[in-house]
Assembly symmetry: C2
Amino acid sequence: MLENTVNIEGNSDELKKLSKELALKLSKTQQTLREKKLPVIILVDGLSAAGKGTLITEVIKLLDPRFFKVYSIRPRTEEEKRYPMMKRYWDILPEYGKIAVLDRSWYKELVSIRQDDNCDEKEYLTAIKNVVTFERQLTDDGYLIIKLFLHISQKEQKRRLEKLDKDPDNSWRVDKDDFKKNKNYDKFYRIYDEMLELTSKPYCPWNVINADAKVNTRAAALTVINEVIEKALENPPCNCPEPNDKFTYEKVPKLSETLKTPKALTREEYDAKLKACRKELSSLHSILYKKKIPAIFLFEGWDAAGKGGAIKRVSYALDPRGYEAVPVAAPTPDEKNRHYLWRFWRSLPKSGHIAIFDRSWYGRVMVERLENFTPENRWQAAYREINEFERELTHEGFIILKFWINIDKDEQLKRFNERMNTPEKRWKITDEDWRNREKWDAYEIAIDEMTEKTSTKDAPWHIIEGNDKHYARISVMETIIDALKKRLD
Amino acid sequence: MLENTVNIEGNSDELKKLSKELALKLSKTQQTLREKKLPVIILVDGLSAAGKGTLITEVIKLLDPRFFKVYSIRPRTEEEKRYPMMKRYWDILPEYGKIAVLDRSWYKELVSIRQDDNCDEKEYLTAIKNVVTFERQLTDDGYLIIKLFLHISQKEQKRRLEKLDKDPDNSWRVDKDDFKKNKNYDKFYRIYDEMLELTSKPYCPWNVINADAKVNTRAAALTVINEVIEKALENPPCNCPEPNDKFTYEKVPKLSETLKTPKALTREEYDAKLKACRKELSSLHSILYKKKIPAIFLFEGWDAAGKGGAIKRVSYALDPRGYEAVPVAAPTPDEKNRHYLWRFWRSLPKSGHIAIFDRSWYGRVMVERLENFTPENRWQAAYREINEFERELTHEGFIILKFWINIDKDEQLKRFNERMNTPEKRWKITDEDWRNREKWDAYEIAIDEMTEKTSTKDAPWHIIEGNDKHYARISVMETIIDALKKRLD
């Protein structure tokens, strides 16, 4: 891969003139990006001293600073290490119509894994897979990712490192490691070459730029950026070929197969069981915390199914310093202007912590589907995207428990009426709830499809029979307790 | 202070019943908080093993998880240490109508400073001042801060630490430091006592709770919380007495005193000066970065005054990995629902970095004042609040440079018309710009008042004569260069 560099021929003055024109062109295109809401990620990676900083300065030179942002990617901090690898990249996703320019990227992290002499091949390939999935998911959502790799020769790199090292203003930019890597140039060449090969996809290819001469680099990079954006404005990115990997699913009952026999607990049974569950869950939480295992408890269910009540009972058993409730409402403008998974990546719990999601990313295949907020091909793609998202988390050690709290239509009506007739509860019921109720049958189809297509072995759905609130709450708690125990064994 | 504890008398059953009622009451009040948009911060601090976690669990037990959040405050991470102390507390400010519950707080940080045997008294008092200012600014904005201090005796603390230490599920909660502190109980008693004394204000008093017996603690804490919230719902917090400290101001010319003689640069002069400034600024940036000095360059100015052009010329001289442009537009719903300084605290640069603000917190005393978005007493208070904010930053080592780019009315008209007549520039001009132009005189009064009242010695305003764009840009760059050089000397 590293052999196929983009080169622009010309003498220095011509190239400088060309770069100037291209930078101007880019600044004009930036307005079109905004109008067409095309989000762009330009990532600049490459060997040390290849001129990434200088190039970025040239690229952004004429851009309107309100619509782009530069991120400098450093090794993960201790705090960042408590989250999955890709989280910090999701965090900095640009809004539709804006540009993010990255100085180094997730590829630097891949190299760090690979360069280690005791590199765990499996870990490396998982990380590669996460990166490829990330880029594919973004592209499918309309993000344009432009990957530039600045490639310099061993000789030129050595020359630059020595020059920087001698300059008192710049010597801090160079460390011993850089010189060591220059000596081991061949090793890194192979690592990069292989990595670029593994991650260059037709929808998101690498552009290797010869970086031995700065004027050429600049002209070549700006040429690539302008061309790629122009093409994307004509044919917005999306519809990447679907990957081959399959998920293993668990069987989940259809909603109509549940609630066939009434199940209930007496007040006494409930109180006794609740007390026991609380004690057990509390002590399990303490162990999770100690072992730094992250967990997600996710609640979905019909309106008035009792999600809130179940969440309260669970959280009361938890140390408030080790969990967080994440209520999910309609997306804010910030959220609407980005990939739908963005806000959920941002809300992930760190190692040892629990996040309790009150509604979740599954809105994508329920309300967004039924209210036509999202085109069909996009919510259809969400089944896979969500499975991938959850797989990435479980591979990182997450425990994911997904609950659908199920009630029947009569029970819902009873609860709606009760809410209407109880002044303190009236705020809980809205016109929207009544409107959703009218779409019960369509929702039921969507829910059955959702649980079927996203009940993977690592993150299966649990359908909780909810006509009796006490029974439902204890079911939830027992399911959680069983899962935690199984994991901790 | 520690002597005056809140005690609730009664036998265990009575107290348990009382707590239950109070928790229920609180959950009902939570709805009123939402309706009245009263934001509440409940902070629970106290000695180790005083039962903070248990108490918090009881307080939130019946609350609706969508409207509160618990934060556990740990020692600052290395990353957090690159920002001013109070930033992470500003970051977690609840929205109006919501509750934040803090397990430990900024007070833990004060104690950490104070307990050090080589404690720098001045540093400690500055930190105290920052805390008092923070609480006052929030209270003035309508935040209710409830400060609970759980106080236990040396004997009881020892008993609990030993019990925890013996319990395999909980021993990780205790470390050697805790036992050491228990031995030095008297020292910490004095530190806490003094700190509480220094920070208990009529508008934001401490509530010391006797924490030797858990049932009493819970009943006492819930009583305090309910009472304080009830009072605040009748009389929303605000109008704290103004502190006595004064700022030293620098004299700034009124806008009408500037632009009296035309100043301009020829293209040749401009090109030469720009090149020289760029080089110098670039090398100064490198030193700032190395010395980890944070800086803010803030740009305000009439519409079409040339803020964007000046910002571009400055940023082109900077390494994109070490600065960030922060465009400030109308607040988002998230931002509108919190103290107006929240979003600016969140955008502060870390040590060694520069943030370039394109518009800023000064919108509070310009557009918010003139469009009546903010009541007069609140924007009047902003002069002091902003001075305090900037003082806190400069004390932390920030360089703050504030520019007003000034043009006259004729020049603005010329530029507006030019924008209207140039298709690529037309998006830059909106109806709002024309409406603002009609209010020129009112704006001029507000701006003169603003520069007069917020041009402090540490963060003075620079009025840039902007009728000639070239002249303005070079003025800005030279001002920055001079200021950085002065600081680095």
